[in-house]
């Protein structure tokens, strides 16, 4: 595929060797043997399925030999996803997240093949297959200025299709204008009405854009610990084994070498470099310091800042504008649902063991 908004376009590409992949998981498990998460991403990781299988086999071997523990995720465009793969994924506990932008009009706008054809039709049967094997699968959805008009309709389509978890991100690097921002506000309002209806109907779903904002108020300071800690708990490994603080910085695996690398799986982490990057990440944008909603805003995401402004701690005006739209809409929605004492809203957001109860409900 050639998605037009890709932050890691296929130039200067090299493939990760099996040796580097095995060393990467060995290295990661030495850092956190109790619970190492391995996420396969690309490019399209399913193009390298034998390498993924070999890496997972290596992890299983390490679990047996050293008593460490791994869990696995993969982000895929879904085109190569078939029954054999999903059977394999379930057998090794590999959780699949599917990149899908919603209805055909939205999805096909950017997610096209090398020949320029949309991929929605090819994905339709794969969606059912994925839900059959992994009913709690995440959808990773990107919203751009060109597709914003389909935002609400796309989320509705995905939830009605049977997906329970929609992780939506705006393409902040897109060419947003006053008109498209106004359209975004309109879509958020539509989504708020949908969210309210589904919640009153006691349907269970997770829509990331709203849930994170509810959480930032309801959980307050606690929600802050769910934010990115930039290179402290999550590392991204480039094909040559170089270590980066986040996937966005890997880019093509070459361009950012030296500037954002913090070691290599063969030589270990350069703690000075890691601290330098973390300090850059921790520095708040001066413009945000006096903002009343700074603790609820996504200004802390260095990857987004880097993607849009080229600086880790400089916030994009688009991010500021869209966050200022979103927070009041979500808060009014929260107020309505609370006034109505909507049971599913209250349990979902105030009950710490909601996931357990929800699971018991699903299984009984």
């Amino acid at each position: 595929m050639r998605c037009s908004y890709c932050y890691s376009p296929p130039v200067n590409r090299i493939d990760m060797t099996e040796e580097t992949a095995h060393r990467a998981v060995e290295f990661a498990s030495e850092l956190y043997p109790a619970n190492t998460g391995v996420i396969f991403f690309g490019g399209e990781p399913l193009l390298k399925l034998p390498l993924i299988k070999s890496t997972i086999a290596k992890c299983k071997q390490l679990e047996r030999k050293r008593g460490c523990s791994f869990h696995f995720k993969i982000s895929t465009n879904g085109l190569l996803m078939d029954e054999d793969f999903l059977q394999y994924a379930n057998s090794v506990g590999l959780l699949v997240a599917l990149s899908l932008d919603g209805i055909a009009e939205a999805h096909d706008k950017h997610r096209r093949t090398t020949a320029g054809e949309g991929t929605f039709d090819a994905l339709l049967p794969k969606m059912d297959l994925l839900l059959q094997y992994q009913p709690y699968s995440n959808i990773l959805m990107t919203v751009t200025p060109e597709t914003v008009q389909y935002y609400a309709e796309s989320v509705k389509f995905l939830i009605e299709k049977g997906f329970k978890y929609v992780i939506a991100s705006l393409n902040y690097a897109g060419d947003w204008t006053d008109e498209t921002i106004t359209e975004l506000q309109r879509q958020y309002r539509k989504l708020a009405r949908l969210y309210e209806r589904w919640t009153l109907e006691e349907r269970k779903f997770y829509f990331s854009s709203f849930e994170t904002k509810f959480s930032s108020h309801i959980r307050g300071e606690d929600a802050l610990c769910y934010r990115c800690s930039f290179g402290k708990y999550q590392l991204s490994i480039a094909p040559d084994g170089d270590i980066y603080p986040c996937v966005q910085f890997v880019a093509d695996g070459v361009s950012n070498k030296g500037m954002y690398t913090m070691g290599n799986v063969y030589t270990g982490i350069d703690e000075n470099e890691r601290q330098r990057l973390y300090n850059m990440h921790s520095k708040a944008d001066d413009a945000c310091m006096e903002c009343a909603v700074k603790s609820r805003c996504n200004n802390n995401c260095s990857c987004l800042n880097y993607q849009t402004t080229g600086m880790l701690h400089t916030v994009s005006p688009v991010l500021c504008e869209t966050e200022r739209l979103l927070i009041p809409i979500v808060d009014r929605l929260g107020e309505r649902l609370y006034r109505k004492r909507a049971p599913m809203f209250i349990q979902k957001h105030y009950n710490a063991v909601y996931p357990i109860i929800s699971l018991i409900e699903d299984r009984n």
Partner: protein, 259 residues
Amino acid sequence: MEIKPIKTYGFPDYPTREFAVLNPELLRYNVPAVWKAKPLVAGTLAAFLLGGVTSKIVAQNTEEQVQVSSGDKVKLQETTRDEAPETSAARVAPVFVHGGGYGSIGCMAISPPVFLSEGEARLIIEDAMKKQKIAFDGNDTIKDTFTYEFEYKGETRKVKVVLDGYNEKFKIGYEFISREDCCKMGGSIPMVIPGNGYNIIGVADSLVEQLKKSSGNRTNVGVFYDPVADTKELSEELLRNQVQDFISWVKEHGILEAE
């Protein structure tokens, strides 16, 4: 478009989680109809709510009521954590709720929770029991076996459970549900936000239910679970609290006098 700090922003008119902690009736009185319709779901919720009030439950098997440590009596509409009926051969303690017993991993931006290993838990449990002169050692540790059943993709799967510890003298056994046990016993959730989930307390709960119904088991059983707290120290402390509650339960039932 430009960066425009918001000078003032009114506090939203829906509460924070602290309010729910101080006002547990918020969760008790606002239960989805779909949950009420399922006894196991409603019962589990009720048990959690009680655990949240005092973190200490002493179940009584009369009139569907439970006594909480403050002395208050709270009516449970449908409790699934009561003790085994007198007709049962096994006497199974309820799950003593200390810690959420739920962990999720895998999100891009989350630090992983801390799980206790079987070995770490065993040291804590057996050390506390040893102070009551209840030893789990030698060949006694593998004494009683039991088959646990769970649903997986529409089919029933069975796992043989060997109690982690057993004392012949008092016929006391215990099982600690670790993350590994949770996976083997169907408690691993494929994908729950923010990632892969482990419903460890749910497995403990279900094990208690099934043990109560088992026949030929003449053991006094305690089921503990990994609290999955933010730090290992806190997890260890919560597990110690579970064991202390079990010891109180053992004493209240005169099990140590049955020598």
